[in-house]
C-alpha cells in the first residue's frame, strides 16, 4: 500500500550549506571578542572601553575595567558595568582578534 518512493535525498531539495568557509557571522565575532578589549559605542555617541566579560542575545553587555569616554575625554571609570543592549550602536575590537 505504501508504495510511494522514499523521500529524495536532501541534496535534491536544497544544497547543503557550504562548509564554514567564512566565519564572519555576528555570533562568531562575539565568540572571538569575549575576554578582549573592546570599544562599545552607544547611539548617544558615548564610548565605553573595557574588557568584554560577556553578552546576551539582546546585546546587553558586561564590561570590566571600563572607561567612559565622552568627546574623547574619560568621564568615568567602573570596575564592572552592565550596558543595556538597546543603547548599543556597535562593539568594536580594540586589540587584535
Amino acid at each position: 500500500m505504501d508504495d510511494s518512493p522514499p523521500p529524495p535525498p536532501p541534496e535534491n531539495s536544497t544544497p547543503p550549506p557550504p562548509p564554514q568557509s567564512h566565519t564572519g557571522s555576528p555570533t562568531d565575532f562575539l565568540k572571538g571578542v569575549v575576554g578582549k578589549r573592546v570599544i562599545v559605542r552607544l547611539n548617544s555617541g558615548v564610548d565605553y572601553r573595557g574588557i568584554l566579560s560577556c553578552l546576551d542575545g539582546y546585546m546587553n553587555i558586561a564590561l570590566e575595567q571600563t572607561e567612559e569616554h565622552v568627546n574623547g575625554r574619560v568621564t568615568n571609570r567602573y570596575g564592572d558595568a552592565f550596558i543595556r543592549g538597546n543603547n548599543v550602536l556597535y562593539i568594536s575590537a580594540a586589540e587584535p582578534l
Partner: protein, 94 residues
C-alpha cells in the same frame, strides 16, 4: 576559555550579584543615581531604595567648563522603568 576571573556567564549575573548592594545607574536624559538595589527583571526594571539622583544640566550657549549645573535629590524608594536604563555599575568586586 573563560576569559574573566569573575565567573560571570551572562550580563544579568552582574546585576544579580549586586542585589542588596549600592549600585550606580545611568539613565537617559542625563540622569544618574545611586541606591540600594532590591529587585530587577529582564527589562531592567529596577526597585531601588535610599536613592540619590543627580541631574546634570549643560547649557550649550555658555563657554565650555562654566556651563554645567548639577541638581541632586533624594528618594526613599523608587521604581526605574527598564527602557530608560543605559548602564548599571555594581560596587567594586575587589
Amino acid at each position: 576559555m573563560d576569559p574573566s576571573s569573575s565567573g560571570i556567564q551572562e550580563p544579568f549575573d552582574l546585576i544579580r550579584l549586586s542585589l542588596s548592594e549600592r549600585v550606580f545607574v545611568k539613565l537617559r536624559g542625563d540622569r544618574e543615581m545611586t541606591g540600594i538595589l532590591h529587585a530587577y527583571d529582564g527589562h531592567m526594571n529596577l526597585i531601588m531604595s535610599d536613592v540619590e539622583e543627580t541631574i546634570t544640566i549643560v547649557d550649550t550657549e555658555s563657554p565650555e567648563g562654566s556651563n554645567v549645573s548639577v541638581a541632586k535629590r533624594k528618594m526613599d524608594m523608587l521604581f526605574v522603568r527598564g527602557d530608560g536604563v543605559i548602564l548599571v555599575s555594581p560596587p567594586s568586586r575587589s
